[in-house]
């Protein structure tokens, strides 16, 4: 087995292990005798640290098809989403107070929009179709003259559904609205060419692509009107948009992870596709099983399934030592059925039984086979325990 003996980890959409070469690059920037300096310092130690930051920005920019100067380092995708959405909404308030997003966004986006609603912004919430996909025509119909910002995620963190960000962004461009994309689940996994794609703001994080936790980035396009207000104050770093001493080892780790992701993207994709198909082939015939998300328009690293007449919390415990998610990991303490699945039209019963399997580079066929065996066994056990429904 490719993992620790006591667990089988199939929760790569929650976080990934740090690639050994990333850990090595980070460990080389921490102690005396290494380049540990403050990259804002003008002395030699500072300039040497600054070189590592510049190199990381180049590595990430290359992966995304943009220029390194368009990237702002943050603490992760949550901060990037906050900075992009609140920063843009405030900067462009004079253009209008109408914003658009989707019910299926991550809480790091939906909670930000709810906060803006309380501050007087008018938010239109779009729902996807039953497969989790947003029709660009829906967005086109929702945009108004006073719409200043649209935020739609690239790959859904629960279902893996890929939104057509090119068409959605094109729609925003035609109407003069800024387009923000939460790309936490897609950067380094799907091709992204910001030189060509109509994206104005894009959030990302390192720990979903085998980099360290605690470091993310926000892309800001070099276009007229594409500006944001800072949320933090206290220094002149990063064009005053996100002040604070940069964690050089974290930044370097993100850069290294981005470089590796770019080199391995095609191989990783093929590996994930084979794993997902293997899992589906192993469990797809279970009576009452339902796949959540359009199979043809989903990132292959995620497979989300619901099953009839099964209580989700008990299923999750029955699956141990398999590490999977019952919903968004950030919201795993919640007993509420997934709002993402409910907005796709799933009943509460189906939504609460959802399990998200997500795979990564270190996942092997034997891990998937273990998941197949345990999932089938868990469903069978809970069905055996349940009393028959009253007719």
């Amino acid at each position: 087995m490719s993992q620790r003996q006591d667990i089988v980890y199939l929760d790569y959409a929650a976080t990934t292990p740090v690639d050994p070469c990333v850990a090595e690059a980070m460990a080389a920037l921490l102690t005396i005798g290494q380049d540990f300096g403050n990259p804002s310092s003008v002395h030699l130690a500072g300039r040497r640290s600054g070189d590592h930051v510049s190199r990381a920005a180049e590595q990430l920019a290359k992966l995304l098809g943009t220029e390194s100067g368009r990237l702002i380092w943050t603490s992760g995708a949550t901060e990037s989403n906050n900075l992009a959405i609140i920063g843009a909404a405030r900067f462009n308030e004079h253009r209008g107070k109408h914003l658009i997003t989707m019910h299926t966004e991550h809480h790091a986006v939906t909670d930000v929009f709810r906060a803006l609603e309380k501050q007087g912004f008018d938010v239109t919430w779009l729902a996807p179709d039953e497969h989790g996909v947003l029709d660009p025509a829906q967005l086109e119909a929702a945009i108004r003259d006073d719409t200043q910002l649209v935020s739609i995620m690239h790959v859904n963190n629960e279902t893996g559904v890929i939104q057509d960000v090119e068409s959605l962004g094109g729609c925003c461009r035609r109407h003069g609205a800024l387009f923000h994309v939460d790309a936490a689940q897609s950067v380094g996994k799907l091709p992204i060419d910001l030189a060509r794609m109509p994206i104005d703001l894009m959030s990302m994080t390192a720990h979903k692509l085998y980099g360290p936790k605690g470091i993310g980035a926000l892309y800001i396009a070099d276009r007229p009107g594409c500006h944001i207000e800072p949320l933090l104050f206290g220094g002149g770093q990063q064009q005053r948009l996100r002040p604070g001493t940069l964690p050089v080892h974290q930044v370097a780790g993100f850069g290294q992870a981005a470089e590796v992701a770019g080199e391995r993207m095609a191989a990783d994709y093929a590996h994930l596709l084979a794993l997902r198909d293997r899992l589906w082939a192993g469990i797809g015939d279970i009576p009452g099983l339902l796949r959540n998300g359009d199979a043809d328009r989903s990132f292959p690293g995620i497979l989300n399934v619901s099953v009839e007449d099964i209580e989700g919390e008990s299923l999750l415990l029955a699956l141990e030592p398999l590490c999977v998610a019952a919903g968004s990991a950030c919201n795993s303490h919640s007993r509420e059925p997934s709002s993402v699945l409910r907005s796709m039209g799933r009943s509460d019963e189906f939504a609460q039984s959802a399990i998200r399997f997500s795979f990564g580079r270190q996942t092997g066929d034997e891990d998937v086979d273990f998941a197949v065996t345990h999932y089938r066994r868990g469903v069978a056990k809970l069905r055996e325990l349940a009393p028959a429904r009253a007719v």
Partner: protein
């Protein structure tokens, strides 16, 4: 931080529900409420519970509580069913307060079973 929501006893009872199933010729009660379904079945003789079985659809705490109840009460006097306390069971299993409603479903089912068996109406097997 996320800590283990299940005590060792809950895990043990959930993983090994030795009293899950049905009983031939038993007195049965079934409740569908609070988002859970629970069935209890008992056979008795000489005022004592000879065998107890359960079936349940619900969270791990409910399943573990049902198993713990059966484990504790099988072989005991039928009269004990009327004094069954969900709060004591919750305490012994470290069931979180937000699950109280579900465990009270078990208490209701136990009381119902006790009433059905109260005057020796349970059939021996």
């Amino acid at each position: 931080m996320t800590r283990d929501p299940y005590s060792a006893r809950v895990r043990e009872y959930f993983m090994r529900p030795l009293h899950a199933g049905d009983l031939e010729g038993s007195v049965r009660t079934e409740i569908d409420a609070q988002g859970v379904r629970l069935r209890l079945a008992a056979t008795t003789s000489d005022g004592h519970i000879r065998r107890l079985r359960f079936r349940a659809w619900g969270c791990p705490h409910l399943l573990a509580a049902a198993e713990a109840f059966c484990d504790a009460c099988e072989g005991g006097p039928v009269a004990n069913l009327m004094s069954f306390s969900a709060s004591e069971l919750m305490q012994s299993l470290s069931v979180p307060a937000e699950k109280t409603g579900r465990i009270l479903v078990l208490e209701d089912a136990v009381r119902s079973l006790g009433q059905m068996l109260g005057h020796g109406s349970g059939r021996g097997d």
